[in-house]
């Protein structure tokens, strides 16, 4: 059992606060969904967690070990994996080479192909030539082979056909069921809420909702208000 605990986290970009006093938890077996409109600070939050950018304050801990000062590589070795926005495959490497880069000594490439059998026949193809859906599968599989405890995923559904999105969501749910702690950032809420456990809604860098996915899914009006920001009073204390 693993647990990511983020408390009072603040992150600046170009000297301006972009993420302010965020508390967040992700646990083995569960998906924590982070929602919010464009520019709410979701990507910045994940980048601060994985170490792409430094944090201005607060703590990040996996199973009690604090990571906020460590370099991205060190955080990765502590069990944090970040699937970045924009499908960051190694373009010049083949599918299989992409997987081999991250291969943990105790992991096996077969695990990646078992999760996404679509990739098997594309194993010798340069990653830049894969379809968007295949690239997304590849970056998720690649992150898994580092043997993470916590998986951060940023907007994996952007620009993909609905049938592929459903496919990816199912795969992520399975990963959580197998014991991974997942933080899933999405802009389009419905599907993410249907597979998630705990939901966070961000607006202008702050968490304005922290509660059950199921509850939020049943009240689309509230979600709408949270996104648009006319409902400060709706924030649970």
């Amino acid at each position: 059992m693993s647990r990511l605990v983020v408390s009072n986290l603040s992150i600046n970009r170009a000297e301006l606060p972009v993420v302010t006093s965020v508390d967040l938890v992700a646990e083995s077996g569960a998906i924590s969904v982070v929602l919010g409109a464009n520019g709410a600070g979701k990507t910045t939050l994940l980048e601060g967690l994985s170490g792409v950018i430094p944090v201005a304050g607060g703590t990040i801990a996996i199973d009690g070990r604090e990571l906020q000062k460590a370099r991205p590589g060190a955080r990765s070795r502590e069990g944090l994996a970040h699937v970045e926005q924009g499908r960051t495959v190694f373009r010049q490497l083949t599918t299989e080479e992409n997987l081999r880069v991250s291969l943990h000594p105790s992991a096996d490439i077969a695990e990646a192909y078992a999760l996404f059998p679509e990739l098997v026949q594309r194993r010798a193809v340069k990653a830049s030539l894969l379809s968007g859906g295949e690239q997304q599968m590849l970056v998720i599989a690649r992150a898994l082979l580092t043997r993470p405890k916590v998986l951060l995923i940023d907007e994996m559904s952007a620009g993909l056909a609905p049938v592929i999105v459903t496919r990816l969501m199912t795969a992520v749910r399975k990963l959580a069921d197998d014991g991974l702690a997942v933080v899933l950032v999405e802009q389009f809420a419905a599907l993410a809420l249907s597979i998630g456990n705990r939901a966070y809604v961000m607006r202008r860098g702050r968490v304005v909702y922290d509660g059950d996915c199921a509850k939020l899914r049943q009240s689309p009006d509230e979600l709408h208000r949270l996104y648009l920001g006319e409902a400060e009073s709706a924030v649970p204390a």
Partner: protein, 289 residues
């Protein structure tokens, strides 16, 4: 005996050195995304450690090893500066930083080595290897070209056949994604700087006796080296290799023709200009399509 052939062959040692330095420049550019103007200066630093030890009476081969170690260390030091403080900078900023470092290295180097004061640079590999159509081909030229070919083949094998090479290619493609997967980015970058430092130092030790061995002239061998790299458009090792050797031969030929020999140091410049104009032409053609 054909005088033209003689002078062409005389350019081979320089050609091999340009080729090796050029291939190292491509290697550095492709793997750590830096157009490195300090390449030759790093080798020069190592070469002068050899000269200093030799002049105070140390035996030659241990001095060579010490020199190569010093060149490797200088390369790693420059690499540390580049990765630690300029890792996120743009390609042009990084290039500008290496130019500044070159100026600094030359200033310090000239100061420490007594400026233009002539040095006693031992010839490591005197004599000729074989005769080609009646012309002596020196061991030095065979060695520099051989070293350049070896480096090219080894880098190819290393990058395509080993795990470290795979990680380096991933790092070159997307540094942040590689780091997020736990690839030891800093260590690998320093490895690249160290490897190129070692090879350039050895190449410069071979060519130094043929040039006036002062810190500035040797450091500025980076100009023909970058010209060779440009011929390979900073991508192709083999084109760079061929380009470097061709540059040396053309320079050798030019030095035998009285009317142009004064201008032979301008040859790399002319080549750079021609390649740049040519690539512009292609770019314009691309736009016009």
């Amino acid at each position: 005996m054909n005088p033209l052939l003689t002078s062409a062959v005389a350019g081979l040692t320089a050609g091999g050195t340009y080729a090796l330095l050029g291939v190292c420049a491509v290697f550095t550019y492709r793997l750590v995304a830096v157009v490195n103007f300090t390449g030759a200066a790093i080798g020069t630093a190592g070469t002068f450690v050899l000269i200093a030890l030799f002049e105070v009476g140390f035996p030659i081969w241990p001095s060579v090893l010490a020199g190569i170690a010093a060149g490797t260390a200088t390369g790693v030091a420059i690499g540390y500066i580049m990765t630690r403080w300029f890792g996120e900078a743009s390609a042009s900023t990084k290039a500008a930083v290496t130019v500044a470092l070159l100026v600094g290295l030359i200033a310090v180097g000239l100061r420490l080595t007594g400026g233009q004061h002539p040095h006693n640079m031992p010839e490591l590999f005197p004599g000729s290897a074989f005769r080609l159509a009646g012309v002596e081909v020196t061991i030095a030229s065979v060695l520099t070209i051989g070293l350049a070919v070896l480096f090219t083949i080894l880098s190819d094998l290393f990058l395509n056949r080993t795990k470290v090479g795979l990680n380096l290619r991933a790092l070159a493609d997307r540094p942040m994604a590689a780091e997020l997967l736990g690839v030891r980015v800093q260590l690998l970058s320093l490895l690249v700087w160290g490897m190129t430092g070692a090879f350039t130092t050895f190449a410069l030790m071979i060519i130094a006796p043929q040039r006036s061995p002062n810190f500035m002239t040797l450091s500025l061998l980076v100009v023909p080296a970058l010209a060779a790299a440009l011929i390979g458009v900073f991508r192709s090792f083999w084109r760079t290799l061929a380009g470097g050797i061709a540059l040396g031969i053309v320079e050798g030929l030019a030095s035998s023709i009285d009317s142009v020999s004064q201008y032979r140091s301008a040859i790399p410049f002319l080549v750079v200009l021609a390649v740049l104009l040519w690539s512009q032409r292609e770019a314009r053609w691309d736009e016009a399509r």
